[in-house]
C-alpha cells in the first residue's frame, strides 16, 4: 500500500487530486476569511470555492499520476530515473490505464477514450431526438434540453472528433514516417491525460447547481457570462482539451519535420502526414484564441472583469470574433486529418497512385491559409461591421475550390484502378465523398450572405454541420478505425458486421439530416426544445432515423470489442498497402523498427513494376532500377 502511494499511478494521482483540490479550496476560504467576506460566495456566476479547486485538483491528479515526474526531477537538479522502458508498450489491458510514453499505447488510449465520449454524446443526441419527436415538451424541460444539446456538441467536438484524429495519427503517423516514436513522448502522454479531465469536467457540470452549461457549444456572451455555475466547467474543460490539443500539434509538427526516415522528402510523405502537418499548423495558431476567450468569460463571471459586459463598457460582438477565429479553423481541424485518411484508404483499395498528389498536398495548405480568413461568415446576421460580410463571403466561397480539388482528385484516383470494396473502410470512404459533397454544397449556400440571412440559426445549419461533421468527419473516422484496426490490435474485424454498420449509418445519416435542411428553410429555428406543430411530421421522421443511426453504432461497438478479443489474427499487411506502417508486424514491435527504414520512392506507387516506397531492415541495400538512391542521406 505504502509502495503503491510512492509510485506514480492512480493512488498517487488520487492523493494528488485531493491534496491540490483541498489546497485550492483552503486558499479561497482563507483569503475570503481574512478579507472579512462570507466564506462561500454562491451567486450563480461565482462559486470561487468550486472553480479554484476545479483548476488545482486536475493539476494535482496529473502530478500525482506521474505526468511531471521526469521533468520535475530534471528541473530540480535531481538525478533522473533512467527510462527502463517500463513505460513503453502494453502487455495487458491494465497497461492502458497507466502513464505510458509509447505512441502506440497513447494512440489506443486516445481512440478508446474518445469513443467512450462519443457514446455518451450520442446518448445525449438520442435524448434530444426523443424530446423533438413531437412538438411540445415531453421528456426534458427547456433548460435541461439546452444543457443536453450544449454538452452533446462540446463532447463531440472537444473530446471526440478533434482528439480521435490525434489518437489515430498518434498511432499511425510515427510508423508511417519511419520514426521510433513521437518527438516528445512524455509530452505526448501528458497531452492524452489532460483529455479525460476535460471530458470529466464537461460531463461533471451536470452535477453543478443550476445544471450543466446551457449556452450552446458556442457559449455566446452575455448569455454565458450570466449563466449558472456549469458554464465555468465548460470554460475550464476547454482549457484542458485545448492545452492537450496544442501540445499534441507541437509534437506532430516537430515529429513530422525532424523525424522522417532518411529519404522521405516532403513530396514522399503520405497524404495522412501532410494532413496532420496542416492540421497542426491550424491548431497551434488558432486554439490559443478559444482558450483565451474562455478565460475572458471565466474572468467576467468570477472576477467581474468587463470584457463582454456591455453595461461596463464591454463589447459583446468581440466574443464572437475571437471565438470564431478559433472555431472556424476548428472545422478544418476536424476535417483535414479525415481527408488524409480518405486518401490512404482510396489509394490502397483502388490500387492506384493518388491522382495529382502534389496538388492534393497544396490544397491542404491552401485550406489552412484560407481558413484563417473566413471566420466572420458565422456572423453575417450578428450585427458586426456590415462591409466585412462581403470579403468574408468571397474567401468562404473560395475555400470550396481546394476542397473541390480534393473531391475530384479522389474520384480521379478511382479511374483505371482496381477498386476493391470488400473492406468497410473503403465503403465509408466512398460514402464520405457523396455526403461531404452535399455538406460542401450547403456550405457554399451558407457562405452566400442573402441565403445565410434567411437560414442562419435554423435547422438548415444543424443539417449542414451534421453533414460535414457526421457525414464528413465521423465517416472518415470510421474509415480510419476500420482501416488501421488490424494494425492496432493485430486482429481482423468482422466485415459482415462492418457492412451492417456501414449501411445503417449511411441510411441513418441521410434520413436524419436531409429533412433537417427542409424544416430549417421552412422556418424552424435551431436550439429549441419546442417547435411549431407544422414541423411535427418531419421531426418524427428525423427522430426515427436518428434512433436507427444510434442503434447501429452498437453494432460497431460490438464488432470492435469482440474482434479485438477474439478476431482472427491479422497479417502484417492485410490491405496490401505500400506505406511503412504496413511493412511491420501487426501490431508493430515495441520500438517499431529494428533499424530505421530507408525511403526510396513515393507512398502510392501502385501498378509500377518494382517500385518501392521504403526498404525495411534486413532487406539489404538494393535500390530499384531507375530510382535515385537516397540511402545514407542524413535526415
Amino acid at each position: 500500500m505504502v509502495d503503491a502511494i510512492k509510485r506514480p499511478g492512480w493512488w498517487r494521482g488520487l492523493i494528488g487530486a485531493i491534496a491540490f483540490g483541498a489546497f485550492g479550496f483552503g486558499l479561497v476560504i482563507a483569503l475570503r476569511a481574512i478579507s472579512d467576506l462570507p466564506l462561500y460566495q454562491t451567486e450563480q456566476t461565482g462559486y470561487p470555492h468550486v472553480i479554484v479547486p476545479a483548476i488545482t485538483a486536475p493539476l494535482g491528479f496529473l502530478a500525482g499520476f506521474g505526468c511531471f515526474d521526469y521533468w520535475l526531477r530534471w528541473a530540480a537538479g535531481l538525478p533522473t530515473i533512467p527510462d527502463d522502458h517500463s513505460q513503453h508498450g502494453a502487455k495487458s489491458w491494465k497497461d492502458y490505464f497507466k502513464f505510458n510514453t509509447d505512441h502506440k499505447v497513447i494512440g489506443i488510449q486516445y481512440v478508446v477514450t474518445t469513443f467512450f465520449f462519443f457514446f455518451i454524446g450520442g446518448l445525449m443526441a438520442m435524448l434530444i431526438r426523443a424530446e423533438l419527436a413531437q412538438p411540445g415538451t415531453q421528456i426534458v424541460e427547456a433548460s435541461t434540453y439546452n444543457s443536453l444539446f450544449s454538452t452533446h456538441a462540446v463532447l463531440m467536438i472537444f473530446v471526440f472528433v478533434i482528439p480521435v484524429f490525434a489518437g489515430l495519427a498518434n498511432y499511425v503517423l510515427p510508423l508511417m514516417i519511419g520514426a521510433p516514436d513521437m518527438a516528445f513522448p512524455r509530452l505526448n502522454a501528458l497531452s492524452f491525460w489532460m483529455l479525460p479531465i476535460a471530458g470529466v469536467l464537461f460531463v461533471g457540470s451536470f452535477l453543478a447547481p443550476g445544471g450543466a452549461f446551457d449556452a450552446g457549444w458556442t457559449g455566446y456572451a452575455p448569455l454565458s457570462t450570466g449563466a449558472p455555475l456549469g458554464q465555468s466547467f465548460f470554460n475550464l474543460g476547454v482549457q484542458f482539451a485545448g492545452a492537450s490539443s496544442i501540445a499534441t500539434a507541437l509534437n506532430f509538427l516537430v515529429t513530422i519535420i525532424t523525424m522522417r526516415a532518411p529519404g522521405m522528402t516532403f513530396w514522399r510523405m503520405p497524404l495522412l502526414v501532410w494532413a496532420n502537418l496542416s492540421t497542426s499548423l491550424l491548431v497551434v495558431a488558432a486554439t490559443p484564441f478559444i482558450a483565451g476567450v474562455q478565460f475572458m468569460v471565466l474572468f467576467d463571471r468570477a472576477l467581474h472583469t468587463n470584457f463582454f459586459d456591455f453595461a461596463g463598457g464591454g463589447d459583446v460582438i468581440s466574443y464572437q470574433h475571437i471565438f470564431w477565429f478559433y472555431s472556424h479553423p476548428a472545422v478544418y481541424i476536424m476535417m483535414l486529418p479525415g481527408f488524409g485518411i480518405i486518401s490512404e484508404v482510396i489509394s490502397t483499395h483502388a490500387r492506384k497512385p493518388i491522382f495529382g498528389y502534389r496538388l492534393m498536398a497544396l490544397a491542404l495548405i491552401g485550406i489552412v491559409v484560407l481558413s484563417y480568413s473566413v471566420w466572420a461568415h458565422h456572423m453575417f446576421v450578428a450585427g458586426m461591421f456590415s462591409w466585412l460580410r462581403v470579403p468574408m463571403m468571397i474567401t468562404t466561397l473560395l475555400i470550396a475550390v481546394p476542397t473541390g480539388i480534393k473531391i475530384f482528385s479522389w474520384l480521379g484516383t478511382l479511374y483505371f484502378g482496381k477498386i476493391h470494396t470488400y473492406s468497410t473502410s473503403m465503403l465509408f470512404a466512398l460514402a464520405f465523398i457523396v455526403t461531404f459533397t452535399i455538406g460542401g454544397i450547403s456550405g457554399v449556400m451558407l457562405g452566400m450572405v442573402p441565403i445565410d440571412i434567411h437560414v442562419s440559426d435554423t435547422y438548415f445549419i444543424v443539417a449542414h454541420i451534421h453533414f460535414v461533421l457526421f457525414g464528413g468527419s465521423v465517416f472518415t473516422i470510421f474509415a480510419g478505425v476500420y482501416h488501421w484496426f488490424p494494425k492496432m490490435t493485430g486482429r481482423m474485424y468482422d466485415e459482415k458486421l462492418g457492412r451492417v454498420h456501414f449501411w445503417g449509418t449511411l441510411v441513418g445519416t441521410w434520413g436524419t439530416f436531409v429533412p433537417m435542411h427542409w424544416v430549417g428553410m421552412d422556418g424552424m429555428p435551431r436550439r429549441v426544445a419546442d417547435y411549431a406543430a407544422q414541423f411535427g411530421d418531419w421531426n418524427l421522421l428525423i427522430s426515427a432515423f436518428a434512433f436507427l443511426l444510434g442503434a447501429v453504432q452498437l453494432v460497431f461497438l460490438y464488432n470492435m470489442v469482440v474482434s479485438w478479443r477474439f478476431g482472427p489474427k491479422a497479417d502484417a499487411n492485410p490491405w496490401r498497402a505500400n506505406s511503412i506502417e504496413w511493412q511491420v508486424s501487426s501490431p508493430p514491435p515495441i520500438f517499431n523498427f529494428d533499424e530505421i527504414p530507408r525511403v526510396v520512392g513515393g507512398p502510392y506507387e501502385y501498378g509500377i513494376p518494382g517500385a518501392r516506397h521504403a526498404i525495411m531492415a534486413g532487406e539489404g541495400a538494393e535500390v530499384p532500377a531507375g530510382e535515385k538512391s537516397m540511402v545514407g542521406t542524413p535526415p
Binding site: 448569455l223 456591455f310 483502388a350 456590415s386 473560395l398 482496381k418 436550439r527 426544445a529 419546442d530
Partner: protein, 263 residues
C-alpha cells in the same frame, strides 16, 4: 488514356441528371411563403444555386458511379491499377472552373445583398426591444407609441427596424420576410424590410437566449397604411423609462446598409 472514357456520354448523363434534379427541386417553395420585396430575390438566388449545385452534385455522382461500375476489381484479381499520377490539364480545369462558379455566386450574392438593403428615404423607423423572453416595439410620433408582443407595419413601405437587446443576444426573424438580424446588448442593429403582402406572421427569436428561447415569439401584422395608422393611434401604453434611455443613447447604428458606406 482518357480518350478511352465515354466523356460525351458522361457529360450528357450529368446534364440529364442536373435537369431532373433541378426540375424536381426548383418548383418547390423551400423557404415557404414570401411576404417582402427581399423574398423573391433571395428565393431566386437560391434557385440559381440549386441548379448550379445540382450540376456539381450530378457530376460527382456520375464520375463516382461510372468508376465503381467500370473499374471494380473482379473477385480474386490482385493486380494493381494503371499507374497514372495525374493530368495537369484536368487538374487546372477542376481548379479554375469551380473558382469561376463560386466567384459568380459571390458576385450575384453581393448584388442581391445590395438590392435588399437599399435604403429608401421614405422609410418608416420602428424600434425593437428584446428581452428574455419577450418582444416589444416602439413607433415614432406621439412620443413613441408602444406595443408588447405584437408588431404592426404598413404594407408596401420600407421599414427600418432599429433593434435593442436589453439583456442577452436575441435574433429577429420573420421567415416570410427572409430577413434576420441579431439584437445585441450595447449596440443598435438595423434590419431593412419592405413587406409586400398583408397578413399575420410570426416573429421568431433565433439566437439561443435561455430556457424560454423556443417560445419567444411575437405576432406580426402587415396591414394597409390606414389601418396601421389607426392601430398606432389607438395604442395607449407609453414607452417604459429604461427603453427611453436606450433610445436617447442610440448613437451607433451598426450595421448601416452597404451603400451608406460603412461608418
Amino acid at each position: 488514356m482518357y480518350g478511352r472514357l465515354p466523356i460525351v456520354k458522361m457529360l450528357l448523363v450529368t446534364i440529364a441528371l442536373t435537369v431532373v434534379i433541378s426540375a424536381v427541386m426548383v418548383p418547390i417553395n423551400w423557404n415557404g411563403q414570401g411576404a417582402s420585396t427581399a423574398a423573391p430575390k433571395i428565393d431566386h438566388l437560391l434557385n440559381v444555386m440549386i441548379v448550379l449545385s445540382a450540376f456539381v452534385f450530378s457530376l460527382v455522382m456520375v464520375m463516382l458511379f461510372y468508376a465503381l461500375w467500370k473499374f471494380k476489381a473482379k473477385p480474386g484479381d490482385e493486380s494493381d491499377g494503371e499507374p497514372i499520377h495525374g493530368n495537369t490539364r484536368l487538374e487546372i480545369a477542376w481548379t479554375l472552373i469551380p473558382t469561376v462558379i463560386v466567384l459568380f455566386a459571390g458576385g450575384y450574392s453581393w448584388k442581391v445583398l445590395d438590392d435588399i438593403e437599399e435604403p429608401n428615404a421614405k422609410h418608416l423607423t420602428v424600434s425593437v426591444f428584446s428581452q428574455q423572453y419577450a418582444w416589444s416595439f416602439a413607433y415614432p410620433g406621439k412620443e413613441y407609441a408602444y406595443s408588447e408582443g405584437e408588431l404592426h407595419v404598413p404594407v408596401d413601405r420600407q421599414v427600418q427596424f432599429k433593434m435593442h437587446a436589453m439583456d442577452v443576444i436575441h435574433s429577429f426573424w420573420v421567415p416570410e420576410w427572409r430577413i434576420k438580424k441579431d439584437n445585441v446588448p450595447g449596440i443598435t442593429t438595423t434590419a431593412i424590410v419592405t413587406p409586400d403582402k398583408e397578413g399575420t406572421y410570426q416573429l421568431v427569436c433565433t439566437e439561443l437566449c435561455g430556457f424560454g428561447h423556443a417560445t419567444m415569439r411575437a405576432k406580426v401584422v402587415v396591414e394597409s397604411p390606414a389601418k396601421f395608422n389607426e392601430w398606432v393611434d389607438g395604442l395607449e401604453q407609453k414607452l417604459p423609462e429604461p427603453f427611453m434611455e436606450v433610445l436617447k443613447e442610440e448613437s451607433v447604428s451598426n450595421p448601416p446598409a452597404l451603400d451608406a458606406g460603412g461608418a
